[in-house]
C-alpha cells in the first residue's frame, strides 16, 4: 500500500515537473528560489558536495567533479598556465588572497559577451554575471534608441540560467521617454542565442 502511494507520488512529481516547465515560477513559493538556493549551498558545501545535487559519492561524475574542483582552487578558476608554487603568497598568512567563486556560469558569460559583441558595452560584472550595453542607435533615425541587459542567474549551464531585457526609448519634444512596446519575443531570441553560444563554449572547454 505504502509502495503504491509513493509510486503515485513519483508520478505526481513528474506531472508537476511538466506543469512547472510551462509556467513562470520565478515568484512562486514552490520552486521559485531553487536556483538561488543552489548557488548559496554551492558556496557552503562546494559544487560537488552540495546535498541538493545529491551526487552519488561512488560515481564517476562525482570523482571527476572533485578533481575539477581541486584543479580550480579556491577562486573556482582553472588557470591556463601551469605554475609550480608561489611561496610569496603562501607566506602571506595575514592577508591571504582569497577570491570567492563567481556566481555566474562561465559558458553563459562567454556566450553573452559574444552575442553582445557587435554593440557597445556600458557596464559588466563578471562576478555576478551582469552585462549592459550602451544605447544602440540607428543611423537613419536618431530619435529612437535601445539597450540590452543580460543577467546570468545560474552557476550551471541550464536553459533558464540567463535572462535578457530590452529597454527602448523614443525622443518626444527633446526628452527621452520609455516606449510601451513588448519586446519579449526579441528577449527570448537573445536568450536562445546566448544558450547556443554557451553550448559551443562548453564543448570547446
Amino acid at each position: 500500500m505504502l509502495n503504491k502511494i509513493v509510486i503515485n507520488l513519483g508520478l505526481l512529481s513528474f506531472s508537476l515537473l511538466l506543469i512547472s516547465s510551462c509556467s513562470n515560477k520565478d515568484e512562486s513559493l514552490l520552486g521559485g528560489q531553487y536556483q538561488e538556493n543552489l548557488i548559496k549551498m554551492d558556496k557552503v558545501y562546494g559544487y560537488c558536495d552540495n546535498p541538493l545535487r545529491n551526487f552519488d559519492k561512488t560515481s564517476i561524475k562525482y570523482k571527476v567533479c572533485k578533481d575539477k574542483e581541486s584543479a580550480a582552487g579556491n577562486d573556482g578558476v582553472t588557470d591556463d598556465e601551469f605554475s609550480l608554487f608561489d611561496l610569496t603568497n603562501l607566506r602571506n598568512f595575514e592577508s591571504p588572497n582569497v577570491v570567492y567563486n563567481n556566481t555566474a556560469n562561465k559558458s553563459l558569460w562567454d556566450g553573452s559577451m559574444n552575442v553582445l559583441s557587435p554593440y557597445p558595452i556600458k557596464n559588466f560584472d563578471s562576478e555576478f554575471g551582469y552585462i549592459e550595453t550602451d544605447w544602440i542607435y540607428e543611423e537613419s533615425n536618431l530619435e529612437q534608441r535601445c539597450l540590452i541587459k543580460i543577467q546570468i542567474v545560474s552557476l550551471e549551464l541550464v536553459s533558464n540560467g540567463v535572462e535578457a531585457k530590452f529597454l527602448c526609448q523614443k525622443k518626444i519634444e527633446g526628452q527621452w521617454v520609455q516606449d510601451k512596446n513588448d519586446y519579449s519575443k526579441a528577449e527570448k531570441q537573445i536568450v536562445l542565442a546566448v544558450l547556443s553560444e554557451a553550448g559551443r563554449y562548453n564543448q570547446q572547454n
Binding site: N3, V6, L9, S13, F14, L16, L17, S20, S21, C22, S28, L30, G31, G32, Q33, Y34, N37, L38, V44, P51, L52, N54, F55, D56, K57, S59, I60, K61, K63, V64, D67, K68, S70, A71, G73, N74, D75, T78, D79, E81, F82, S83, N89, L90, V98, V115, S140, E143, Q144, S159, N160, F166, C168, D179, N181, Q189, I190, A193, N202, Q203
Partner: protein, 348 residues
Amino acid sequence: MGSYLCSININHTKGIIMKKLLIMASALTAAVFSSAKADISVSGSAGLAMISGGNVIDGAPAVTAGAGLSATSASNRSTSGTLFQQGGAVSFAMSTTTANGMTVSTSGGITMDSNDRVSNKGVSGLAAMTFAADGFSLTVGDIDLPAGGGVGEVGFVASAQVDNGGYTQTGIVTGVSDTEGYGFTASTSVGAASVTFGYLLDKNPEGANNAESASGDYGSGVTVAMPMGDLSLTLGYANVTGTADETTAGVAVSYGLGGGTLKLGYESTDEATDSSTMSAAFSGSLDADTTYAIGYTDGEAGALASTATEVKLTRALGGGVSVFAEIQSLDGSGTSGTNMAVGTTVAF
C-alpha cells in the same frame, strides 16, 4: 543581413526604425541559434598517489555477485611497504532542452578507480535520467538515497586514498547500509528552503538498469537545507526496509568564520547495531589556489568507539593539475595509527 533588412515592407511609420532594430537583433540571434539544443560533453580526470601507514594491502577486494557482477574472491597481500595507486575516469554528459525549457540529461563513464583498489576497468552510469525545469528536478533510475549516507557526518575531509593506508577504525558508522538502488529523487525549493526527496523501489536490484516494485526492499530519504541568518542548516532522514529496517537521522550546521567555513554535524543510526557520530570540520584557503581542510569525527557503534582526525592540503598548479597531501589519524576500536597519502590529480 543588409538584404534581409531591405526585404522588410513595413507600412506603419511609427516604430518602423525600432522594428528594424529588433529585426537586426533577431537576425543576429537567428544566425547563431539553431533548433537543435542537444549536447554531449566529455570530461575526465586521472590521479596518482603514494599511500603509507600500517600494513598496506595491494591487489583487489572481493566482489559480491549482483547487479550484473560475478562474484570474485579477494586477491591481495598485506605488506609493510608503500602503496602506489593510480587510475582515471572519463565522464560523458548528455543533455537536451525542449522548446518549453525543460532539460533532459543522463551521464555515463569509464573508470579505473584512482582512489580504491580494483582489478578491472569499469563502465558505469547510463542507468538514470534527469528531467529539470524551472525550479524542479526529477531523476529516475539508479539513484543514491538522499540522506542515506548521513548528512551529519562532516569530519572526513580527506579523499578515499588515505583509507588504503592500512590503519583502520571500526567505531564510526554512519548512514544506512544500502544507499543505492533503483528509484527516483525529486528536488525543489519551498521558499528559502531546498528539499530533496528520494524513494528506492528496490535497494537491491537484480539488474543494472531495471527493477520491479514488489521487491520488498524499499528505501526513502529526505534532506532539507535552509539558511538561518549567517548559518546554513541541513537536516536529513533516511529509512530502508528489508531483512532489517534501518533508520538514520542527522543534522549539519555550516557557518562562515575567519575566512573559512566551520561545519558541525551529528548523526544517529538505528539498525542491528545502533551507532552515533559527532563531527566537526573547518575548511579555508591560504591563497587563490591553495585550500586546506581539517576534520574530526567521534563515533560509537555498539560497544565500539573510535575517533578520526583528517587534514588535507590541496594546491592547484594550473592546466587542470593539482597536488594534494593528506593525513588521517585513527584511534580507538580498530587498528590505530596514522595513514598518509600524497599525490596528484589532473582534470581534463
